[in-house]
Structure formats: C-alpha cells, structure tokens
Symmetry: C2
Subunit: 152 residues, 2 copies
DNA sequence: TATTGTTATACTCTATAACTATA
DNA sequence: TATAGTTATAGAGTATAACAATA
C-alpha cells in the first residue's frame, strides 16, 4: 500500500514545519543561551570547518552573502565568532568559532538534543529506527549545496 | 543495531532544518505567489477551520497572539484573509480565507508539492515508504498544541 | 477578575541593489 | 572583468510589555 509521490510530499510539507517550529520555540525558551536556529547552524558549520569563508557558509546554509554577513555580524558582536583576514587572498575572510562560542554551541546543542530525546523517548524502538532511516535518506535528498542560484 | 535516543535526536536536529530551509527557499523562489511558510500555514489552518479565533490559530502554530495578529494583518492587507466580529462573543474574531486566498493557497500548495515530489522521485519506493511512516510517527510526537506556555 | 485581541517597541532573518577592494 | 564581502534599505517573523474591550 505504497502511497504516491505527492502523498509523500504532502506528509513532508505537513510535518516538517511543525517539528521546526517546535525546535525554534525550544531554542528561544532557553534564553540564557539564546541562539536562533540560523545562528546555531552557522556556528556548527564554522566549528566543523575552521577558517571557512563567508561564501562557503552562505552556500551551505542556502543564504545570500549579505544575509550571511549580517548573521555573522551578530555572532561577532556577541563574541561567539571571529572574522580574520585570509593570508593568501585578501578579499576573503577566515571565520572561526571563539572559545566562548564553542561553549555556547555545546550547551545549546546539549539542551536541544535533550529536549528532542525526551520527546522521542515515548516512541517504540522500531518506530524510532524508522525515523532514523528516514532522516538518513532525507539528508541525501536535501543535501547541502542544494540552493539553486537565481538565473538573475 | 538500534542507535540510542540521543543519536536519533541528533539526526533530527541535523536534517529537519535543512529540509525546512529548502522548502522556504523554494517558496520564496516562486515570487508571484510568494507566501512565506508561516503565512501558508496560517491560511491552511484557517481554511480547514473556518471561523477560527486568533487565539486558536496562534496556539496551533505555537505563536504568541501579538505575533499572530501581525501575521494576520499582512494576510488581510493582501486580501487573502478576512477578519469579522464573532456574533456571540464580541471579544473574539472570526477568521476566514477569501476566495483569492483560497486560490493562492491552492497554487502555492501545488507548487511546493510538485517541487517536493520531484525531489523525492529519485528515492526508491521502499525508502519512500520508510519516510512516510516516519512522518506519521513524528506528527504524533510533535502534535499541535505542543507549545509550552511560559510560566511567566 | 479573566479572556481576547491590538499597539508599541525591538531584534533577527532575509532579500535585492549598489558599492569597495582585491585578483 | 570576475570574485569576495559589506552597506543600505526594506519587509516579514517573532517576542515582551502595556493597553483596551468584553465577559
């Protein structure tokens, strides 16, 4: 009884925004750390990719460079990220996560993970495994670098 | 080889924002219709629940009433939604989707569904079924009305 | 007094357009 | 000329605080 493609799409479009909203609210609720989802994602990416350029992070997140520039501004203002010159190419920028940023990132990650784990704790093991597998497939489908550059 | 709870949570936290970002970008790309995800969700909810109060929609979406009020303002300005007095309780408001709103909602839904269906078309049927099942489980886990009211 | 909603204010996210600096 | 990034400007999403109207 496999549904058709559009039915799958419909489920995705129904459920994903609900989860996202929930994650967002949860992150906002922990005021002390208070990272928005985009801030969190940017920090996590730069942490995994020390010395990224602005463009790389923007591309990864599917944002335009100006949007990313502002996002980074905010993180730097709060002392979570640092922006240095790139030694080889002076147009570029080297982004790094500060110690403080790393601490916040870690705490925020743990907090959100605990929250989600708690939510999932009521799900039977086999169903949870189904979720795991689904996420793995979806990750490849919606992989990074998906952003379509405008024809403009 | 079932992973632990936290591993499941980690996958969710990694993948869901990526999908969301993709949906958001896609909706923005179709400028003519140009509904944001929250606008889309609000319209869809009110369409399914003719005559909802502001509070009901806000609760469904996990937003505060002021946020919802503004969101609705925007939809009304664009002629997609209407706000009437509730006959029985004059504090309340009756929200309805206009004909134009319904048309836009339909077109936007179709556009986004086609986009997602296209993305999913490369996925084997059995994996797609796994995704379907995962979404069904996740819908119950993150069901509407999840919003925790602040203790404040 | 409790409920429903709006207004005022303030940030963040995000985009496009226009610009600067470097290659 | 092409690439990397920033600044200017603007609209939407979101929150808290303060308020008005109705029950």
């Amino acid at each position: 009884m496999t549904g058709d493609l559009e039915e799958s799409a419909r489920k995705l479009l129904e459920v994903v925004p609900i989860i996202m909203q929930d994650i967002r609210s949860e992150m906002r609720r922990r005021r002390s750390l208070d990272l928005t989802v985009p801030q969190f994602r940017a920090l996590a990416f730069v942490n995994r990719n020390e010395g990224s350029s602005l463009w790389e992070v923007a591309f990864h997140m599917g944002l335009t460079p100006p949007s990313m520039s502002r996002l980074v501004d905010g993180l730097i203002e709060r002392g979570l990220m640092a922006r240095e010159d790139h030694p080889a190419d002076r147009r570029r920028v080297r982004l790094t996560v500060t110690d403080h940023g790393l601490a916040i990132l870690g705490a925020s990650t743990q907090g959100t993970l605990s929250y989600l784990a708690d939510k999932l704790s009521g799900v039977e093991a086999d169903k949870r495994e189904v979720i795991d597998k689904a996420m793995e497939t979806l990750r490849t489908v919606f992989a990074t670098g998906t952003r379509k550059r405008e024809v403009t």
